[in-house]
């Protein structure tokens, strides 16, 4: 009888080797802290907490750049945090003289929010940059911290 099912026994052995290989692989590669708190690596919490802080926070920026704070108060960008445009600048806050922020290219930066798109609410200021400025940097005409041009004849807000 065994002779007639020998091939199946051999198959079962091959399958068991496969399952055993999987179990060994799993034990070898799944981190020990996996599942400690939930469906993730428990040690990840400590690792993330130990990473250096990259953002300084707008209160830190405002402590020195009081002139910008005053400008922002006049316009709608008052609600936009400094590092939303300037990027994470904790290093600059720690050592303002030697770590200087990069000059931003407003032709790219402003379009990130203000490029015309049918999905944006109508009241949100948006322009088709190619038609509006032809690639010219936005800060040629607009002051980014207070972007509305009060005295100019040209209406820029709400244009689609």
């Amino acid at each position: 009888m065994f002779k007639n099912i020998e091939h199946l026994v051999r198959l079962a052995v091959v399958m068991m080797i496969g399952v055993l290989g999987f179990v060994i692989l799993r034990a070898a590669v799944v981190p020990h802290s996996f599942g400690q708190y939930g469906h993730y690596r428990g040690a990840a919490i400590g690792e993330i907490a130990s990473r250096p802080v990259a953002f300084a926070g707008h209160e830190t920026c405002e402590a020195c750049h009081t002139d910008v704070v005053e400008q922002k108060k006049l316009g709608k960008h008052v609600v936009v945090s400094c590092e939303a445009c300037h990027g994470a600048l904790a290093k600059h806050a720690d050592d303002p003289s030697s770590v200087l922020p990069k000059k931003l290219d407003t032709a790219i930066l402003c379009a990130r929010c203000h490029e015309a798109n049918g999905a944006k609410p109508k009241g949100f200021p948006q322009v088709a940059t190619a038609e509006h400025s032809g690639g010219l940097a936005c800060d040629t005409c607009h002051q980014p911290h207070h972007p509305k041009i009060e005295t100019a004849e040209i209406k820029t807000e709400g244009k689609k």
Binding site: K3, N4, E6, H7, L8, L11, M15, G18, F22, G118
Partner: protein, 398 residues
């Protein structure tokens, strides 16, 4: 690249996230499930007429199953991470659970059934072939060359049992794909408990049609005569399955029309505009009504064999195109409208990008290359089968 948008769409809906690769995924999985169901007709339901396609159907299912996860891998990126789904599976993740369904279907159903069915041929070839082929076949024998009548009888019984398990497994495999869409309750185009059932039946339709076409093509290429009794029977089963599939889809449609919930006007507008060609013309008229009418006519009219072959080829081809269109309309159609029900976006397919038309074409060619290799290794043709089971068995073990 500005995507043309009509009306009001929510920002995250403007760009389609699920591309043509996600259209291919249910299409390919459906072919697997359908081909296997056709194979089970002979094995479990004893439909002797379709026997010439039994092995071809199994190899087709395997070739397409091996390619089935590739569109997902390509869409998601980082294929090396897919192993993590098996190592640390999450029970609430349908995708992770699908990984196990896939593995079960591949390892415990298809490979096992093919191995048991071909074991006699493998043993004979391990002793008659030369060179590297001999080594391959010897490896496939797992060191046992016992093909006595009794051992082959055991294989036959076990194969029957595996096919029996294989039928619900095939249903699970493709039912899951429908479940993935049907369970997205935020999307009224997808969210329907009928979705897994419709997907299973459409899978059976596409798989049967694909194997029928492959059988006709391969028999022609080998210069053999097509077994018309077999072809007529497959066409008959294709018709039956198609009628059930079409009825289910129409019931779903009627339900939606009568219910006419808040999404109805928006979806109705979409079907009449952006999906008009792919849904109404290609899927329903060309891909469903026409093949059903052609196959139905073959049941009542007396037509010559040559004409029947052409009509079956035409009906089969239209069926496969129609089922592909159905997958397209589900996946792409479900992303063209906004949840605001006031806006519509456009799907712009790139060509030579990671999710473009070129990789989609390559992924559709790949299963045929795999099938060609499988056919060379394990010929499914009736005339190439080794001596009938138990006739001149090679006894003993090596």
């Amino acid at each position: 690249m500005q995507i043309p948008v009509e009306g009001f769409m929510y920002p995250n809906e403007v760009e389609l996230q699920w591309s043509i690769l996600i259209v291919l995924y249910p299409f390919i999985t459906g072919l697997v499930a359908g081909a296997f169901i056709l194979a089970s007709l002979e094995r479990v339901f004893r439909v002797e007429a379709v026997k010439p396609t039994y092995r071809l159907a199994l190899l087709t299912a395997l070739a397409f199953l091996l390619v089935a996860p590739l569109p997902l891998q390509l869409h998601l990126g980082h294929p090396e991470r897919s192993l993590e789904m098996y190592l640390t599976p999450h029970r609430s993740s349908a995708m992770a659970m699908f990984g196990f369904v896939y593995l079960w279907y591949l390892m415990a159903v298809l490979l096992l059934e093919i191995w048991l069915d071909y074991r006699h041929d493998i043993v004979v070839r391990s002793q008659t072939e030369k060179g590297w082929k001999r080594l391959v076949y010897r490896g496939l024998t797992l060191g046992s060359t016992n093909v006595s009548e009794r051992s082959l009888h055991v294989d036959e019984r076990l194969g029957y049992f595996i096919t029996l398990i294989g039928i619900p497994s095939a249903f699970l495999l493709h039912g899951y794909v429908g479940f993935i869409f049907g369970s997205v309750k935020a999307n009224p185009w997808w969210s329907s408990p009928l979705m897994p059932i419709v997907f299973i039946f459409s899978a059976m339709v596409s798989g049967i049609a694909a194997v029928m076409l492959l059988y006709m093509l391969s028999t022609r290429l080998r210069g053999q005569r097509i077994d018309m009794r077999c072809l007529d029977k497959i066409a008959q089963y294709l018709l039956y399955t198609f009628v059930i599939d079409f009825s289910l889809e129409m019931m779903d449609l009627l339900q939606r029309i009568y219910e006419a919930d808040e999404s109805f006007r928006s979806l109705d507008f979409m079907v009449h505009t952006r999906l008009w060609v792919s849904q109404v013309i290609v899927q329903i008229l060309l891909g469903t009504v026409t093949p059903i009418a052609l196959l139905g006519l073959m049941q009542v009219l007396k037509v010559t064999e040559a004409a029947r072959r052409w009509i079956y080829a035409l009906a089969g081809g239209l069926t496969v195109i129609g089922i592909f269109a159905m997958r397209w309309n589900v996946v792409i159609g479900g992303q063209l409208f906004s949840k605001s029900f006031l806006g519509y976006t456009t799907y712009k397919m790139a060509f030579a990008t990671r999710e473009g038309l070129l990789p989609a074409i390559i992924l559709m060619i790949l299963p045929f290359i795999i099938l060609w290799v499988l056919v060379k290794l394990l010929p499914p043709w009736p005339e190439s089968a080794s001596v009938p089971s138990g006739a001149t068995p090679v006894h003993g073990t090596s």
